[in-house]
């Protein structure tokens, strides 16, 4: 089984994240997107069970290689970083098309997944939080998408997930090749030991640009950020310590302020 796991190197959510010129400031305190650890774990566990290889794929600035190294420490066999100045600030469809081209190259095909059986992603990246990339990437690859998996089972020719979204619980399946996105419920990501960290240093990482993927410059996005503002932190309002009347006082406050 050949599995590509798509990861992202993002500013740590605990760091001081900010926008400059409408773009997220990167490269100061970046880590492997926490929710992608579940994707790496799912891919590595499947290959341990079924045999095969895991390729960690990341689009981003060159230091995104650090995120790929983390995936290699967790058990991925090799890595690819797609990095190109023309991709700075890329939107979801552009990212999807670029990653799709990289998957095709990994799979030995001009388009589509080639001999890649499965693409696994996290449920969202903690920088943009759009959750749109998995579906968009599946569209660009023309493979079925099984998204937001709470659990995942894969056989030689089929993937089956269970998931809970909104008010619906469902089991979905699709023939391989397919794309699966996993939630943080899907597994418990392993913590690499010293031997795994040492082994990861010897694993190959390729760096590709748009030319390597046979892609032209990025098309006009159609959506442009024109204004960005840091919001004042929400301030504490009225705080009451219950002395037996707090429920009644809160009710009165809600009614006075037309909130109910």
């Amino acid at each position: 089984m050949k599995i590509v796991v798509c990861i992202k190197h993002v500013p740590d959510v605990q760091s001081e994240r900010r926008l400059e010129e409408g773009r997220l400031v990167r490269g100061e305190d970046d880590v492997l997107n926490e929710l992608d650890e579940n994707a790496v774990e799912a891919a590595v566990a499947l290959v341990e069970e079924l045999g095969g290889e895991v390729i960690a794929l990341c689009m981003g600035p060159e230091d995104a290689e650090d995120g790929v190294r983390r995936a290699l420490q967790m058990g991925a066999d090799s890595g690819v970083v797609v990095s190109d100045d023309a991709l700075v600030g890329a939107d979801v469809p552009t990212t999807a098309r670029t990653l799709a081209a990289a998957v095709s190259k990994i799979g030995g095909a001009d388009s589509g997944p080639g001999d890649v059986d499965l693409v696994i992603t996290g449920m969202a990246s903690l920088d943009a939080m759009t959750s749109m990339l998995p579906g968009a990437l599946a569209a660009a690859l023309h493979v079925p998408a099984l998204t937001l998996a709470g659990s995942l089972e894969v056989s030689a020719d089929e993937a089956t997930i269970t998931r809970s979204t909104g008010t619906v619980r469902e089991v979905l399946s699709a023939p391989l090749p397919a794309l699966v996105s996993v939630t943080d419920q899907a597994n418990e990501p392993r913590y690499p030991n010293f031997a795994a960290m040492r082994a990861a240093r010897k694993k190959p990482v390729d760096v590709w640009d748009l030319g390597d993927l046979g892609l032209d410059a990025v098309a006009e996005a159609g959506i442009a950020v024109v204004d960005f503002t840091e919001r004042p932190a929400r301030e504490a309002g009225v705080i009451r310590t219950d002395a037996g009347e707090a429920g009644r006082e809160l009710a009165a406050w809600l009614v006075e302020n037309n909130l109910v």
Binding site: V92, G135, P144, G166, I239, T241
Partner: protein, 332 residues
């Protein structure tokens, strides 16, 4: 042409209940579209609609209704996205709008790739400035807000997922004329058709308002000790949706789908009431869009009190019943 309106149609994906009735969120989305364009608002209903639905959609502002027969498979996002693509190719609108739940976001991303256009998600506000559409949203866990211009071009129609909770759905106007319901032929892509729904069940939570769309949300946290009855006693009379922290879901007190925050639902209600919620950043990142935040928690050091408009340090088991009783009295 009225000022500050687009002069091109808008397609709105209308989610429906299993009975074929448009959801409140879908009607709100139609209202949003109505305010943005002087041209037609076209409602796209994947799957059948109940006969009275077209009048309800007309009252909310739709001029046409397209019904796509998707063989009961519209729950698969890729199938619904194929319907959006077919509708966009037929209507050639300035923009297509979908709801901003997980399904809506997946639909927007997929449809945008297939249309060769742009997409945006979690948009909280849309307006027309000059002849340009502007979309605003909160980013970075609600600490920043951004405004985007959306070039509304009919050959590359952008697809935007919108939180409709900021808008009160239009109440159906009496005697509104019925509007035409037209079948829409949807060529299904092989990859959309390949997704098999092995089983599907709608949870009991579906009885209440939808979490992502609700005007009021009551959230169950660790401090409720799993007392769902207490949470309902407040949520039900307020017609509020019930949300939960990750701990409450992990404990099995409530469905995972109720989880609010970073890996759950982002909400933007006008009123948020947290019961026994301490306010970890994984949760509060999903409530930054709330208008007013109220917290009842027995830990005076809980971080949620730093952002609450009104906080009560107290035992939820004592404060909530008194609150419910007094609200019933005050509201008659």
């Amino acid at each position: 042409m009225p000022e500050n309106m687009l002069n091109a149609p808008i397609v709105v994906l209308v989610d429906r209940t299993p009975e074929g009735i448009p959801t409140a969120g879908a009607l709100a989305l139609v209202s949003v579209a109505r305010a943005l364009t002087s041209a037609e608002v076209v409602a796209l209903a994947p799957g059948g609609l109940e006969p009275s639905a077209s009048a309800v959609l007309a009252a909310a502002g739709a001029a046409r209704v397209l019904v796509a027969d998707l063989d009961g498979r519209e729950a698969v996002a890729a199938v619904a996205a194929d319907a959006v693509v077919a509708a966009v190719r037929s209507v050639r609108p300035a923009v297509a709008l979908v709801g901003s739940d997980y399904r809506g976001k997946e639909i927007a991303g997929r449809a945008a790739v297939l249309l060769g256009s742009a997409c945006a998600s979690d948009v909280g506000d849309l307006e027309v400035v000059g002849s340009e559409l502007r979309a605003s949203k909160l980013v970075l866990s609600g600490t920043w807000s951004t405004t985007m211009t959306v070039s509304a071009q009919s050959d590359h129609t952008p697809v935007i997922s919108v939180h409709p909770s900021a808008v009160e759905p239009a109440s159906p106007a009496a005697g509104e004329a019925e509007i035409p319901v037209e079948p829409l032929d949807v060529p299904l892509s092989a990859e959309a058709a390949a997704v098999k729904v092995v089983s599907r069940e709608v949870s009991d939570a579906a009885a209440g308002p939808d979490l992502a769309e609700a005007q009021r949300v009551v959230v169950m946290g660790r401090g409720t000790d799993g007392d769902l009855g207490l949470v309902h006693s407040l949520a039900d009379p307020l017609d509020a949706a019930i949300g939960a922290t990750r701990v409450a879901c992990d404990e099995g007190w409530i469905e995972r789908s109720a989880q609010v925050g970073q890996t759950g639902v982002s909400i933007a209600p006008s009123l948020y009431i947290g019961l026994g919620v301490s306010g970890a950043v994984h949760h509060t990142s999903g409530i930054q869009g709330a208008g007013t935040i109220v917290a009842v928690c027995d830990d005076s050091e809980a971080p949620i009190f730093e952002m609450a408009d009104y906080g009560v340090v107290g035992d939820v088991a004592e404060v909530v019943p008194q609150l419910v009783e007094e609200l019933a009295r005050l509201r008659g």
